[in-house]
């Protein structure tokens, strides 16, 4: 039932995207044909963030004991690591897959369900992977830039990856208690937003236009990640 509903929503979203694809402005960035719509969504996200998400994240940062914040961050980090491990395997990275498996096992057991990160001091390094990256690894082009409602910067490819991330990530999938699962989603979101608070200040100092700055940084960063730090050289010097 729930799945069907999600699919309908996705269909509507894609439909809206294709439709708005007709309305491109003249001096558009070729990677961002849906800029007018994206800017709208960006604006809405920004006001939702200012009104609700950011204040909550700030309060969380200011009024929760540091140790608790660290523990919660580790806990969700460990859950994300599980899915990153699966994606490391899908991207045929044997060493990384072994390392990440070790991380998850050590942190889940010795680290008490992931609340303590004992793996990092043991040199089991964290590698973040997601299904969008896996698709990119197998050669799927990123497609147009896309700002998702609430979740922010993405591309057509990364958004499809994101749906798979949300649906197939075994850690969340197995929780049948809906209130518990929703609580986990919310805390996870606050934890992620808290991590972005410090970035935000420098963003406001650097960017003239936050929208295009975030877009360009996101697209470059994803390309860099997919090529593991060696993207094809696109730099046109001078």
């Amino acid at each position: 039932m729930a799945k069907k509903h999600d699919l309908t929503r996705l269909g509507l979203l894609l439909g809206a995207l294709l439709f708005s694809g007709c309305a491109t402005s003249i001096d558009a960035n070729p990677k961002d044909p849906w800029e007018p719509m994206n800017r709208q969504v960006f604006k809405i996200n920004d006001s939702v963030d200012k009104a609700v998400v950011k204040p909550v994240a700030v309060a969380y940062k200011d009024y929760t004991p540091d140790l608790a914040q660290k523990g919660i961050n580790n806990f969700f980090g460990n859950l994300r690591d599980v899915w990153s491990t699966v994606n490391s395997a899908l991207q045929l990275k044997p060493t990384q897959t072994v390392e990440m498996t070790g991380r998850v096992i050590v942190n889940t057991t010795v680290g008490v369900l992931g609340f303590i990160d004992v793996a990092t001091p043991l040199k089991l390094e964290k590698h973040k992977e997601d299904f969008g990256k896996t698709l990119g690894y197998w050669g799927m082009p990123s497609g147009p830039y896309l700002v998702l409602p609430f979740f922010g910067p993405s591309t057509l490819r990364d958004a499809s990856g994101f749906v798979v991330d949300a649906k197939l990530n075994p850690t969340y999938h197995d929780i049948t208690n809906v209130p518990l699962r929703n609580t986990l989603y919310v805390i996870n979101a606050i934890d992620i937003r808290k991590g972005l608070l410090s970035v935000e200040d420098s963003l406001n100092a650097i960017a003239f236009d936050n929208y295009s700055f975030i877009r360009d940084a996101y697209l470059q960063r994803r390309l860099y990640e997919i090529y593991d730090g060696n993207p094809p050289d696109t730099e046109d010097s001078e």
Partner: protein, 225 residues
């Protein structure tokens, strides 16, 4: 700690710091001399150069409380003295401004360069104050040693996840004169390219003088924070 002890420590720090800075200066002087003497044979490899520059900066910040505190004036002075000589800042600005650079008058170019530098210093002053707690790991160089332009990759490890920091360097003409940085990549994002697209929006809308005005304005707002 007793009050007099604290005073003593503060006094020692105050007197020893200039001594330390000047001795580092002397050390670098000797280093530079030995490089220029060894000329062709002893050219420093670009990854070695980045490693040395990073370590020097770390030491400098470690021993300077006002740098650690992110003091802007002191940071600007250090950037001018210690970082700017290693950058081809003209190339960075030209590249960030894009095609419009060539049509800009020399005065406009100077103005752009100064304001761009201020913008960068304000942006990265905070980062500089935190370098002492970090481990900098420069990756082995790939490519041929005869390359005129190279990419040096490094990884910075602190409390959180490692941060990728890559540099593009050009060989300076002449023998044994070393390398200059002309672009910087933080977490996969090239600095010059990112500014270029921000700047081009301004130039398209308001021209070169418009960009200069926006930069001046932005630097003023940032200074108030």
């Amino acid at each position: 700690m007793k009050a007099w002890k604290m005073k003593l420590v503060a006094f020692l720090k105050l007197t020893l710091r200039p001594l330390l800075v000047s001795s580092i200066g002397a050390f670098i002087g000797v280093l530079a001399l030995s490089f220029s003497l060894s000329a062709n044979a002893g050219d420093e490899a670009p990854d070695e150069f980045i490693k040395r520059l990073s370590t020097e900066l770390q030491e400098l910040v470690k021993n300077d409380p006002s740098l650690k505190a992110g003091d802007l004036q002191r940071t600007s002075a250090v950037v001018d003295a210690r970082i700017m000589p290693h950058l081809n800042f003209q190339r960075m600005t030209a590249s960030a401004v894009g095609p419009a650079w060539r049509s800009a008058t020399p005065e406009q170019q100077t103005k752009l360069s100064t304001e761009f530098k201020t913008l960068l210093i304000r942006t990265y002053a905070g980062a500089l104050s935190q370098v002492t707690d970090l481990t900098i790991n420069v990756k082995p160089l790939r490519g041929s040693p005869d390359d005129k332009e190279v990419l040096v990759r490094s990884e910075i490890k602190g409390k959180g996840e490692p941060i990728e920091l890559d540099y593009r360097l050009e060989k300076t003409p002449g023998n044994g004169s070393g390398w200059k940085i002309y672009n910087l990549n933080v977490l996969g994002v090239w600095l010059v390219e990112t500014y270029r697209s921000q700047f081009s929006q301004e130039i398209n809308a308001k021209g070169i003088d418009g960009l200069i005005a926006t930069l001046v304005e932005r630097n003023k707002t940032n200074a108030k924070k």
